[in-house]
């Protein structure tokens, strides 16, 4: 089992590697167990020893986020009522309302960044980290990794959780608002998503997949 996360020596000169962040050339050398190589130009840790457990944590958090994502979408976030009439609100209700009012691009944007992108991001992260943790060569793991990279900045559930809080405050001036369990599920999903982003080691996964070819 590979517990060391070293970047491959991708230069033909031998003994020289490139910093993955700023592409500066660095002299490669053999490192001890708790040493790491720092890029002299941008300060990125180029080589470091990382135990295999980091990917297990990413897998666990991504799975937890996926599980909490289901009730987050099926339960109402809040109930708003004015003069006896009340209205339940799910994530998808906002998408539908924007669509019905003629703002299809906005509806599509909210649908993509609050439902589609978080789901596919979490699914692909758990797929890649499961493949790494179980040492299985699962098909399409490379594609899943690229998908996770592309969607990372579009995963806006934490922002959505803040927006929920603000909306409750704002609606209180218009009528009666009550929190519903859906908002707690969204909060849980947002927290697990942020932990997943923290734990998921893209470089490690890339190296592992490259080694498999």
């Amino acid at each position: 089992m590979k517990s060391e996360c070293n970047l491959p020596d991708n230069s033909s000169e031998g003994g020289w590697i490139h910093c993955p962040r700023c592409y500066a050339s660095l002299r490669d050398r053999v490192l001890g167990s708790h040493e790491y190589l720092c890029c002299g130009r941008c300060g990125e840790q180029v080589k470091s020893l990382r135990p295999g457990r980091t990917m297990i944590a990413a897998w666990a958090f991504a799975m937890a986020a996926l599980v909490t994502f289901i009730p987050a979408n099926l339960n109402p976030i809040l109930i708003f009522s004015v003069a006896g009439n009340s209205q339940e609100n799910l994530i998808i209700t906002g998408v539908r309302a924007l669509w019905m009012q003629g703002f299809q691009p906005l509806g599509a944007l909210v649908f993509f960044s609050a439902i589609l992108a978080p789901f596919f991001y979490l699914a692909s992260v758990s797929y890649v980290s499961a493949s790494w943790t179980l040492q299985l060569r699962l098909p399409f793991a490379g594609a899943a990794l690229r998908l996770a990279e592309a969607l990372e900045s579009w995963n806006l559930l934490p922002v959505f959780a803040i927006a929920c809080m603000v909306s409750v405050v704002k609606l209180r001036t218009l009528g009666t608002v009550s929190w519903e369990p859906g908002s707690l599920w969204i909060l849980a999903t947002a927290v697990f998503t942020m932990l997943t982003i923290q734990c998921f080691d893209r470089k490690c996964a890339e190296l592992y997949l490259e080694g498999g070819k």
Binding site: C42, G94, A97, F103
Partner: protein
């Protein structure tokens, strides 16, 4: 796509973001109708309204996310892209770029807020919230800045300028 082309695209998106910034902030984002009273709010108007109801922390969050973040992004993106290829402040520019990527998505708070408000404001004549054209410009501006910061990679800050004859 070559790095040279990416810089060009990033510049174009930043310029588009600056142009879209004007209608995004001067056109109303939503119209709230409550028991006959009609009120159109711009992005800044929404913040002022929150502040006036005495909810200062919430107003501060919305102000930071939807007023400060877009301005900071547009100004620092123009700074980064304007200095592209020069050797001035390279390590500071890198820190600014990493910071930009981190704060970039928070401007979406306003769009999500609108989607929730529009969803609950469907109680007929009693209360209704209608999205307005300003929201489209605001969303387009945010997408432009998000994409511009995403395309311009950190290592490009350290690149030598392209020779004019390729």
């Amino acid at each position: 796509m070559t790095d040279h082309l990416k810089v060009k695209l990033s510049r174009a998106l930043t310029a588009a973001g600056i142009i879209l910034y004007v209608p995004a902030n001067f056109l109303p984002v939503m119209t709230i109708t409550l028991t006959g009273q009609v009120e159109s709010l711009t992005v800044m108007g929404g913040v002022v309204e929150l502040y006036e109801t005495g909810l200062v922390p919430v107003a501060a969050v919305v102000f930071l996310a939807s007023v400060v973040v877009p301005i900071v992004k547009l100004v620092s993106l123009s700074w980064l892209l304007g200095l592209h290829g020069s050797e001035v402040n390279q390590s500071r520019r890198m820190k600014v770029h990493l910071f930009l990527i981190r704060i970039g998505t928070w401007a979406m708070v306003d769009i999500f807020l609108l989607s929730i408000l529009v969803a609950v404001g469907q109680l007929g004549i009693l209360a209704s919230v209608q999205a307005e054209a300003g929201a489209l410009f605001f969303a387009a501006m945010i997408i432009c800045t998000l994409y511009a910061a995403d395309i311009y990679k950190t290592h490009m800050i350290w690149q030598q300028p392209m020779p004019s004859s390729t």
